[in-house]
């Protein structure tokens, strides 16, 4: 988090933040565990795990289907499912599992760092543009930027940039503020010993509950907006 020094390391002139890499790995392992253990015995009559997985798949497909034309929605199902799972777990991770060594966070919500959320939104915008390019061809794709008239070129380009930024920063803002507040509650709890510790428990619980809700909502919103961007590219303006 912002308060401590940030632990970093470098490979091939690329700087990595330890916290992001570790948190990303934790989320990766968690996500893999979820899909691995819920898909062990896939059968015609679904068991508990399979039921959950199928429900989740239906859920993300439903989100995608809301904005992407029905014919093309199947191509984005896997992407939407993985994105939702990854963001959901990322948002929740920091609420329950927050490790800091020497004041610098090692494991926390990956989505509380803008580089992660902007990477995600960059992938979404890239995917949306690629989908448009793939469907309409180079000419059709490029002319979509000067529709309804060439005057709109600037605004169309700006829209792409603003989509990328708002999509990434929205989720970052919510998750980051949630973690900051949790940290503030923790500081308050430590400040005057036992009484404040006891007083902090309900506040902490309430805020964690709200954050779980917000984190879920944000994962949902991210996927919804992503599918809106993709849908807009596919429909052609």
């Amino acid at each position: 988090m912002g308060s401590g020094t940030v632990s970093t390391f470098q490979i091939w002139k690329l700087t990595f933040s330890t916290a992001n890499v570790l948190s990303g790995l934790v989320v990766f392992i968690l996500a893999f565990a979820v899909i691995f253990f819920t898909s062990r015995h896939v059968s015609m009559r679904p068991s508990k795990g399979q039921n959950f997985l199928e429900w989740l798949i239906d859920f993300t497909n439903g989100i995608l289907g809301g904005s992407i034309p029905a014919k093309e929605v199947s191509g984005f199902g896997l992407w939407g499912f993985t994105l939702f799972l990854f963001l959901f777990l990322s948002n929740q991770l920091g609420l329950f599992f927050n490790v800091a060594i020497n004041g610098s966070a090692i494991v926390r919500s990956p989505t509380s760092d803008p580089i992660v959320t902007l990477t995600m939104s960059m992938m979404t915008v890239a995917l949306a543009n690629y989908a448009g390019l793939h469907k309409w061809g180079t000419k059709g794709y490029l002319t979509s930027f000067i529709k309804p008239s060439p005057m709109f070129l600037a605004s169309n380009l700006f829209e792409q940039v603003s989509s990328f930024l708002t999509l990434g920063l929205r989720i970052f803002g919510i998750i980051f503020s949630g973690e900051v507040l949790l940290e503030m509650v923790w500081t308050f709890a430590e400040s005057k010993g036992i009484p404040t510790l006891i007083a902090a428990v309900p506040i902490e619980m309430a805020w964690q509950g709200l954050s779980v809700f917000l984190g879920s909502i944000q994962a949902y919103v991210f996927l919804t907006l992503s599918s809106v961007y993709i849908g807009r590219q596919l429909e052609g303006e």
């Binding site: 970093t8 819920t38 015609m44």
Partner: protein
């Protein structure tokens, strides 16, 4: 970079690549372990359900036609049974009439025959009685007058005598 736009300026280019790679790897694993098998199974299930529905519809139609056929057969057999009963009844009636008629005719014939027989027998008895009386009287007369009378003359004589006997009784 966009680092000037965002809080804290802690953007590490390596992280971006790391997350893209991680995400794509996760997507690949999800596809292998969960997405592939689950969506395949979901597809199979929906196929099976629609198959089952089709099948159920077909068998229901089959059952309906079978029931119709049975109903029709039942109706047919009922009609047939009625026909058999009525035929038997009319046959019986006819036969009864025939039997009665035959019996009546037989009885009539028997009665007539018996009447004839009786009349014939009476006639025969009467004739033999006449002959006997005639022979007897001839014998008596021949014994009495010692004279052989012509049998036919004698018979005539006796007939007239018998007729003469019958007359006073008739009036």
């Amino acid at each position: 970079m966009l680092s000037h736009l965002v809080i804290d300026a802690t953007l590490y280019n390596g992280d971006s690549i790391f997350y893209v790679v991680t995400f794509l790897l996760l997507m690949w694993l999800v596809k292998i372990f969960a997405w592939g098998p689950i969506t395949k199974m979901m597809q199979q299930r929906s196929d099976k359900i629609s198959d089952d529905i089709d099948h159920a519809e077909k068998s229901r139609a089959e059952a309906a036609t079978l029931a119709d056929q049975r109903q029709e057969a039942l109706k047919g057999s009922r009609v047939e049974a009625q026909q058999i009963v009525s035929t038997a009844k009319s046959d019986g009636q006819e036969q009864r009439g025939q039997i009665i008629d035959k019996a009546e005719a037989d009885a009539q014939a028997l009665k007539a025959k018996a009447k004839d027989d009786i009349a014939q027998e009476r006639e025969a008895a009467l004739v033999s009685a006449r002959n006997d009386v005639a022979d007897l009287s001839i014998e008596i007369a021949s014994k009495l007058i010692q004279r052989e009378l012509n049998a036919s003359d004698q018979k005539e004589l006796i007939d007239s005598y018998i007729e003469g006997l019958g007359k006073p009784h008739e009036s």
